[in-house]
């Protein structure tokens, strides 16, 4: 079966490369052909960008495309669609929805964004209060979403709404795809402490969403949203950076700008270097274990460790700069950065940007709950918001 899968993949790759030489075909045209050959999401059904084979072939396909001079940049440019939306559509969408949205998503002709978090629903996402009220075949949406990467470029949004406030919070949610260009949808830049607007706020004021854009059943929005968030983890994973790269490179560079004669700073630098390298080794270990199907706790500790270490190391790098650490050479420019500025080359910006590492994608507090409860098997806390109608639970 595995050799059979290999043969099918090889066959399609050969055909794709023959008809659309990766190095010479315009990007979007190539991605369209890649989709048509079932090499976009290789585990998806045939006709929907896949071949119905094991997902592990995808990384090999991507490597081969890059080796042949092609691009896989669509995966980054439309990360929320390709990485998270597609899997959600496959799991919960109708075939019509899948046919409508998957191909232009993969070619990046239509960019996607995610509309989950709200000012009042961060860690407690299921408490969200953006409402969708049915009027015949349409839903009328009101409320506010926040932390929406790419929303200003997106054609489509993955939206979770509250459709029934009279049941416990997880039970009253419904999931939609929303047209970001529809009337009543207002996207505003959200400036962050770096002076950049990597994220947006999205306001809904009587925005209309046709019922045919609903994903999953009414009231099933939470499980659809969970599918999206599961896909997030898969989308992010991948290669482990080389030794000495990332935040520690900033600290080493800052150290090399000093007279390199302070043993106290050197000791701290080395302590961080050690921790960064140990975390890198852990990521390799987690990758090996995941490949062998024997994932251990090391996979779960990495995000938490990375967030806290990143913050500590970039802050230390600024300290190493001494008086220059009081400056912000790039200035606060109030612009939108190219993509996310998480991996910035500017140590000052990296320092400020890293503050969000322990907030975005699950705060460190939530990650510790997860580690404590799911990995260490510790009991949960008494819950005051279970089995209570959403409208009766206190909210801020």
């Amino acid at each position: 079966m595995s050799t059979d899968e290999r043969a099918r993949v090889e066959h399609q790759l050969e055909a794709l490369f023959a008809s659309h030489p990766p190095a010479d075909t315009p990007e979007q045209e190539f991605w369209g052909a890649q989709f048509d050959h079932g090499l976009a999401w290789v585990q998806f059904p045939e006709g929907l960008g896949g071949l119905g084979v094991g997902p592990r072939w995808q990384s090999e396909i991507n490597r081969r495309i890059e080796a042949a001079g092609g691009s896989v940049a669509n995966r980054y440019r439309n990360i929320l669609g390709i990485g998270m939306g597609a899997g959600t559509l496959i799991a919960h969408g109708t075939e019509e929805q899948q046919r409508r949205w998957l191909r232009p998503m993969f070619t990046t002709e239509e960019v996607w964004c995610q509309l989950f978090s709200e000012p009042g629903a961060g860690s407690d996402l299921a408490a969200l209060s953006t409402t969708a009220v049915r009027e015949g075949d349409t839903w009328v949406v009101n409320g506010q979403k926040v932390w929406n990467t790419l929303a200003h470029l997106a054609k489509w949004g993955l939206l979770v709404t509250r459709t029934d406030p009279d049941v416990p919070k997880h039970a009253g949610l419904t999931y939609f795809v929303v047209d970001m260009e529809a009337p009543g949808v207002d996207v505003r830049p959200l400036y962050q402490i770096t002076g950049e607007a990597e994220f947006n706020e999205v306001y809904f004021d009587d925005a209309h969403v046709p019922d045919e854009f609903r994903i999953g059943e009414v009231g099933e929005g939470w499980s659809v949203a969970m599918t999206t968030l599961m896909n997030e983890r898969v989308a992010i994973g991948g290669n482990v950076a080389p030794r000495g790269s990332g935040a520690i490179a900033h600290a080493v560079a800052a150290w090399e700008r000093t007279d390199r004669d302070d043993p106290v700073a050197r000791d701290q630098l080395l302590a961080y270097w050690i921790e960064a390298e140990a975390l890198r080794l852990t990521a390799i270990r987690a990758g090996e274990a995941a490949k062998r199907g024997t994932p251990g706790p090391e996979g779960s500790t990495a995000k938490l460790h990375w967030a806290d270490l990143n913050k500590a190391i970039t802050s230390f790098a600024i300290d190493l700069l001494g008086p220059d650490g009081m400056t912000y050479p790039a200035g606060y420019e109030f612009v939108r950065p190219e993509l996310t500025s998480s991996r910035t080359e500017d140590v000052h910006k990296a320092y400020l940007r890293s503050r969000a590492n322990s907030i975005e994608g699950g705060t460190s507090e939530i990650m510790k709950n997860i580690l404590g409860e799911r990995v260490l098997g510790l009991p949960g806390e008494p819950r005051v918001d279970k089995n209570v109608a959403w409208r009766d639970v206190p909210r801020s």
Binding site: A127, V264, S315, D319, P323, G331, I359
Partner: protein
């Protein structure tokens, strides 16, 4: 450890007089009304980043010359009163040159200038009509290095050449108290900002509420009368010591305000049907911050009292101690301020980042904690 450091610190006391309490309350009201978040943000994005209106009012209330003798138009109060102003201003991130003019510059003149010179400059400083800044670092901003400016005798006066870096409020000061090396060693000169040959450039700062400037001296001529007549090394040393203590007091004010804001948020922000402050992860972090804050406050208050008492032996311990500790405490509490506010704490519109940046900038200003620990160790003989 030498026996000197074992002596019981004679004057350890924290009792606040009624007048001091009233001063603090007055400032709390005044700054609460004037240095609002909106106003601070408005000012910090101007070129000068100086709240002129608030500055004038502070001058009218006599708060800019608190430590200046009454004969020079000041209030003749002590450094403890000045520290209260600084602490309260730190709570509100008031963009005003208190540190540069009322502390660094004023102390340098009080210690280094002759009576005649003090009479000439201090009255305007006390009213706020004239703002001082201290230019004593080289362009790399190092404390231990010689200043980046040299002074050469030229007839009856002097010519200054070179550059000074990281001058706090240097771009809005009227008089730059400039440290320069001459054949006779270190000298301090009072140089008008508009002097020929003097050029100022603002630095892009991490903390927009506290501007920094580079000053270039290109053949700036200074008359002998404007060279401080006293001991320049002592004057500079005392000015920096007072500055360090003032920063520590400012840091305590800022840290207290962040903790206040964050605690309030934790009481009101509800997730999972509960105020987040009811979760131990949040509650205990804030409790730990309170522990740190109270230690920092003790250190800063004591250092301010040592400066007020003019107890050089105790200042040598208390000042670096306060700066090292308060810097780290402010930074930790301000970082928690962002984290515990969650996403909103990472936005430009929320004030958490303003404190976070002020904390980092003051940590690195006039020597980082590591330097101050080293200085303290030298004093203690450890």
């Amino acid at each position: 450890m030498t026996t000197d450091t074992q002596r019981p610190a004679t004057a350890v006391t924290f009792v606040e007089t009624d007048e001091q309490r009233q001063l603090r309350e007055m400032l709390r009201d005044f700054l609460g009304a004037r240095a609002t978040s909106e106003r601070v943000r408005e000012v910090m994005q101007t070129d000068t980043a100086l709240d002129d209106a608030a500055w004038k009012e502070l001058g009218e209330y006599g708060l800019l010359g608190l430590t200046i003798a009454e004969e020079h138009g000041g209030a003749g109060s002590s450094f403890v009163e000045l520290a209260i102003v600084i602490e309260e201003a730190g709570k509100r991130l008031l963009p005003a040159p208190l540190l540069s003019s009322a502390v660094l510059g004023t102390t340098a003149l009080q210690v280094g200038a002759s009576a005649e010179q003090q009479a000439r400059w201090l009255p305007d400083v006390a009213t706020g009509a004239s703002r001082l800044a201290l230019a004593h670092l080289d362009e790399r901003g190092r404390m231990t290095a010689d200043p980046g400016v040299t002074a050469t005798r030229d007839g009856d006066g002097w010519v200054l050449e070179g550059a000074a870096g990281y001058v706090v409020d240097g771009h809005t000061a009227d008089l730059l108290v400039t440290a320069a090396t001459s054949e006779d060693g270190l000298q301090l000169f009072v140089v008008p900002a508009e002097a020929a040959g003097l050029a100022r450039e603002s630095l892009p700062t991490l903390d927009l509420t506290r501007p920094l400037a580079s000053i270039r001296y290109d053949g700036v001529r200074v008359p002998e009368d404007d060279r401080l007549a006293g001991e320049a090394v002592t004057a500079l040393h005392d000015a920096v010591a007072a500055g360090i203590v003032a920063i520590a007091c400012e840091q305590v004010g800022g840290a207290q305000q962040v903790l206040h804001l964050t605690t309030g948020y934790a009481r009101e922000r509800i997730q999972f049907g509960r105020a987040i402050g009811s979760f131990q992860s949040v509650k205990h972090r804030l409790a730990e911050d309170l522990v740190k804050l109270e230690a920092a406050r003790s250190a800063a208050l004591h250092a301010a009292r040592a400066v007020a008492a003019g107890d050089r032996e105790e200042i040598a311990i208390a000042a670096p101690l306060a700066k090292a500790l308060c810097s780290e405490v402010y930074e930790a509490i301000a970082a928690d301020g962002i984290q515990l506010h969650g996403g909103i704490g990472f936005t430009w519109e929320h004030d958490a980042h303003l404190y976070f940046k002020r904390a980092k900038a003051t940590k690195l200003l006039l020597g980082d904690p590591h330097l101050h620990r080293r200085l303290l160790g030298d004093v203690l003989g450890l």
